[in-house]
Subunit: 298 residues, 2 copies
């Protein structure tokens, strides 16, 4: 009989809820903690044990997973007062699945290493739907041996699981993903408003260009939303701005010029100025529309 | 018995050769003219009639197709000395399949209308392979009734044929296509060099991000070329610069700000500066590499 490893899970938000439920479904014993305790209810109802602190989560687990908001949040739950590090024992593995700075990730991994605790960074893409359905893409940094040990656990939450390289490399990969998402989306917005400004039927244009060398996930999916003037979030601007800040910080630290991503960020500043943080990233079209004095859909 | 319309074909270049051969294969009688006459040989060998001037082509055809380089070339073969307009009769249709300015297209259509000649703009995407295999995408502007009449002829050359709107609207759609191609490509180059600069395995990153919300034709196809440091052209920078000029002129005429496309153009200026006009558009990575002091593939 195989004894499944005990899993700790910190961060029962929109993402963490589906992910921890999928771990329970796969048969793992799960102990959870969340800053707002009430949010853990559906997971506790499904069989998870509730801990009072991140430290207590670590005391009750072999593998600790965190998915919280930013670098500071990860540092707090792991290294802060009553942090998970104080409940960890040698040989434990911490998998941080938040999207945070690759540099902060390396710093945390170094702190954990002093206690003999391994770390993986495993940021995800695929959103709440992917979290609920267990179809996330997971981009993993850390030692390959540790990755292989933890792979079955990651497979309970995700579908496309790629080992990238050492600590922080999963975060770099996620940053690459977000550079691509934003630059492609801005191009889609600019191209479609260009058509509207020229007085051309944007639906027909969208249809004509989607299948060839101009095609992209953003054009097909967020482009279709734009044609319905639908700004509802697949991915919220609030969260994307956080990712853009990480990318720009990493560019600064690595001396990497990012002219296209910098432009994307400046266009999203309009969405900040207009308080559109809860809209989906396709709403960057509002910045293009404003500049052009032209609505895409009238 | 159906009598197939007589087709005139002006411009037997890399694209026009495959396209005119496909018309012959479909059974149409074809008369051709090309500035450099020797290039017409394979098409004449396949059964086309050779004319001495664009005017003579028009005299021998009901439907005249042109695919030449720029707006000025189209104007010259249609409206210039011995131009096709002087051989045209009322009821003829001119289909310009070159990629030129939507504004020039409307001007030419107006001149032709004075003689009772209809015009369609039908710029294509799909490259030489699409021209040879008859799988081009064709984006059509002009009267819908005229489009319907000419559709069987377009179907002999292309696969995805979309009616967009009035004269020039096919060209606007092509411009949209090229905005998308360039903005997406620059994002791909910047994202992958970002990974390289962070010391991360770019092949693994490419694999991890290609299937999801970051995915695009450019990432899959030109991204794979970049990983092999392969700058061979699917589409040449020389031709793309021409298209960017059309887009920027159209933006000027329509008062449409194009910040993302403007950045793309400035990055391609590096390719001009380094005399890379015969390389494929993925070679815009050289500009990103130069700025970053980092080769993508070492």
């Amino acid at each position: 009989m195989i004894t499944l490893k005990k899993i700790g899970f910190i961060g029962i938000g929109l993402m963490g809820k589906g992910m921890s439920l999928n771990l329970l479904k796969a048969g793992y014993p799960v102990t959870v903690w969340n800053r707002t305790e009430s949010k853990t209810k559906p997971v506790v109802d499904a069989g998870a044990k509730l801990a009072k602190t991140p430290k207590e989560v670590a005391e009750n687990s072999d593998i600790l997973i965190s998915i919280v908001t930013g670098s500071d949040d990860v540092k707090e739950v792991i290294l802060g007062e009553n942090g998970a590090i104080y409940g960890a024992k040698k040989g434990d593995v911490f998998i941080d699945m938040s999207t945070i700075s690759p540099i902060a990730t390396v710093e945390i991994a170094e702190e954990l290493a002093k206690k003999g605790v391994e770390m993986l960074d495993g940021p995800v893409s695929g959103g709440v739907i992917g979290a609920n359905n267990g179809t996330l893409s997971i981009m993993v940094g850390g030692k390959e041996k540790v990755f292989e040990e933890c792979k079955p656990i990651l497979e309970a939450m995700g579908k496309t699981i790629t080992y990238i390289g050492g600590n922080g490399d999963g975060q770099v990969c996620k940053a690459v993903n977000q550079i691509l998402v934003g630059t492609t989306m801005l191009g889609v917005a600019e191209a479609l408003v260009f058509a509207a400004k020229a007085g051309v039927d944007v639906e027909r244009v969208h249809q004509a260009v989607s299948g060839g060398a101009a095609g992209s996930w953003q054009l097909t999916n967020n482009g279709a939303r734009l044609l319905k003037d639908d700004m509802s979030p697949g991915f919220k601007i609030k969260d994307y701005l956080k990712d853009l800040r990480i990318i720009m910080e990493t560019g600064d630290a690595n001396k990497m010029p990012l002219p296209a991503t910098a432009l994307v960020l400046q266009m999203f500043r309009h969405c900040q100025a207009e308080d559109m943080l809860q809209d989906g990233t396709q709403a960057v079209v509002r910045a293009v529309e404003k500049l052009a004095g032209q609505k895409l859909v009238s």
